[in-house]
Symmetry: C2
Subunit: 169 residues, 2 copies
């Protein structure tokens, strides 16, 4: 498939510029970023991250799922991060469907019942960030001493917008 | 906290260069990349991705967790991706601990019993990719028609290395 060949060719070009200095695993800035898988959102670019700076956890919506918590615990306990940034964004696909609609589509296209999976859609970006910051803050595996900040990234302007009530500790 | 101010300042600089053309949500290359949260691994750079090209899902290890599947289903059913790339990497933190060790550390540091969480560590990178490609291939919510390729990214050289038996359909 041509797509995979393109990636291999792009990677060969990348490797020519790969830094020769060896970086350590634990993130230099001691922070983990939780954000959406959206193709337009490049966490390294929008936050000015350099190689080695930060863990980046991404899923559909940038949600505080149990798997995101799994990653955050490893990030903190094994690799020393001490802060969390949660970033959702405008024009997110997650506001355009309900669980019912997605279950119906999966049933229609794949003939499979997916109704035991919560796809974690949300109604409005902003409140979604407040909800996920709250889930992390209240989670027994995320210590209260870890500061958490929530933002909405504006896909049109490129700016991060602070979210009131998504700023804890 | 100075870290968050640094991000906001870096983002103000970024926004000056943010493209004025508006990109659509569905990824141009119709692909989703599943990889590790590692701070040294920048998926956009190592694959030559441009803004809008691909969904990027990241967690500790780049594992095929149920939350990764949630994201992949949304990626495919709602946003039209038709291929998956799985990338693990050398020098991954996930080979340096067992569930037992992490449960002990969490108990020791936080006083919390985390033994109901599988942190998904692995013994060896490469076989880990084969395992995750197999989990995705066998998952009822990922159609057999979706090609999946697995690679190991070499942190030292910057090269993607193909993994035998992690190349399905």
């Amino acid at each position: 498939m041509r797509l995979f060949d393109e990636f291999i060719n792009a990677n060969i070009e990348y490797a020519k510029t790969h830094p020769t200095e060896e970086l350590a695993g634990p993130p230099v800035k001691k922070v983990a970023v939780l954000t959406c898988m959206d193709a337009r959102l490049d966490p390294a670019k929008i936050l000015g991250l350099r190689a080695g700076d930060a863990h980046v956890i991404r899923n559909a919506g940038g949600r505080a799922s149990e798997d995101a918590v799994r990653s955050l615990v490893i990030s903190q306990v094994m690799l020393g991060t001490q802060a969390i940034v949660v970033i959702h964004h405008t024009d997110c696909g997650m506001v355009r469907f309900s669980n019912d609609e997605l279950w119906d589509r999966v049933e229609h296209h794949y003939g499979v019942d997916a109704s035991d999976m919560d796809f974690l859609p949300f109604d409005e970006v902003g409140p979604s960030v407040v909800e996920d910051v709250r889930i992390l803050r209240d989670h027994p595996l995320i210590p209260d001493t870890i500061p958490i900040r929530g933002y909405v990234w504006n896909v049109r302007t490129g700016f991060l917008e602070e979210v009131p009530d998504a700023h804890v500790n």
